[in-house]
Amino acid sequence: MKKLINQPEQIIDEMLDGIVSASPSSVRRLEDTTVLVRKDAPVDGKVALISGGGSGHEPAHAGYIGKGMLDGAVSGEVFTSPTPDQVLEAIKATDSGSGVLLVIKNYSGDVMNFDMAAELAEAEGIETAQVIVRDDIAVDDPENRRGVAGTIYVHKIAGAKAETGASLEEVQATAQKVIDNARTMGVALSPCIMPTSGEPGFELADDEIELGIGIHGEAGIEKRKQMTADEIAAELVERLLPEVDLADQDEVAVMVNGMGATPEMELHVFNRKVQDLLQEKGVKVYDTIVGNFMTSLEMAGCSLTLLKLDDELKELLDAPSHAAAFKK
């Protein structure tokens, strides 16, 4: 697999500089770290939002930095959680005195590293709060569910909440509400290739797809014979709907997320069936986004996220955002 890179060991460093050089007026890098923050951080009187994790999920997480979403993003090596010292730097650089919310995806590594950073921040007198995203229904045990594309909604909605001047506790509560109401499931048509080893994360035969994948090139829960876009849409919708627990008047937000190498054309074909199915089942769709939001390098496939909305979430979802990867 050919990649548009230089030394694999330099890839994160070079990526971060590349991101900043594209948006020098809105994003800056903390020297000698893998942390990017809003150019104007810390923002006075505002709770700061920090997210992050392993790299390879671009535009997550740095693409979501900007007014209305994140104040900072911490990047680890490819698919490897960043270390506590890096997270701490992000916390220190974005805290305006109003406290910092850490948006953590539910992986052992992310949880532990961010948690250690929170302990270190506490020692320095900075108040932090955490939310742990666990939207991936491919994992049965709700406690053990991974954080995947639903994280984007947490950034967007909690980010908008923070812009209202809400307290750390309030922003945390809103973020938690998003987490409680977001459910995702994904499918891979082909694996991604680790830049360091040049090896695929799993093997798929020419006529196989992988259901219930995470976002780190790890294998999914089930291999299936190749299915059509419509069949995959039906499978995901059917698995997700019981999990979002909709009452009659509830509306949902829909995210069709490409895993990195799926042509946008195919995402639209997939979305068409998703919308048809939701309509058939009487589910009202308030908002839909289609694109690459939380990727796994050059994996082919997609994930589907449903987020149950209430009035607060709708208003915050519609609020402006200046993030490079999520302008609103």
Partner: protein, 203 residues
């Protein structure tokens, strides 16, 4: 037995050598039931540890403290905080002390406690804990024996093959995680094998 500052440095250097030799193997183990980076993570971090061992250290605790901070800031992933915590707890436990067999057992006990707390995990979940716990058992026996330490670690590591993972990335594989060694258990085995080697030579 007695673990000196030099022994400790030697131990960590040998561990680093072993990790860089076995980097691909560890990553391959992780590819089967995780995300394929355990070897890369460990080798990256302990390379830095090894490079930082040339200074002057007053006591074993200082070596371990420095190791802990380097591991925490260079390894990343799940193994970074876990090994980092382990070394930090060992360092705290032996502060101001000469490291004999009894102190070593206390150190591993503290480390194991730290790992469990940090990882919110227990024995039997197919993680590095399944090596650390039996190793602690051996160290707590009366007569210290380097060879037995190594054997215990090796057998414990082997036993993770049949276990079902309930923590970490491997847990997503559920029953399918059976039949594969846990990568963190294997790297922990290397850690104790090199410790046994250093102590064995010194004794």
């Amino acid at each position: 037995m007695q673990l000196t500052v030099e022994d400790t440095i030697q131990w960590l250097k040998q561990f680093n050598d072993r990790l860089s030799e076995q980097k691909d193997y560890l990553s391959q183990l992780d590819r089967a039931i995780g995300d394929g980076d355990h070897g890369i993570n460990m080798a990256r971090g302990f390379q830095q540890v090894a490079e930082g061992l040339d200074g002057d250290f007053d006591e074993v605790s200082d070596v371990l403290k420095k190791t802990a901070t380097t591991v925490m800031s260079k390894v990343g992933g799940a193994s970074g905080p876990l090994y980092g915590t382990a070394f930090l707890k060992m360092s705290m436990e032996c502060k101001g002390k000469d490291v004999d067999a009894a102190v070593l057992a206390d150190m591993v006990e503290a480390a194991l406690g730290g790992i469990k707390q940090r990882g919110k995990s227990e024995e039997g979940e197919k993680t590095m804990i399944d090596v650390w716990a039996p190793v602690l058992g051996t160290l707590q026996e009366e007569d210290f024996d380097a060879e037995r330490l190594k054997q215990t670690a090796e057998e414990a590591m082997q036993k993770t093959e049949d276990m079902t993972a309930t923590k970490g990335r491997a847990s997503y594989f559920k029953e399918k995680s059976q039949g594969h060694l846990d990568p963190g258990a294997v790297s922990s085995y290397y850690l104790f094998a090199e410790l046994a080697d250093v102590i064995g030579k010194g004794a």
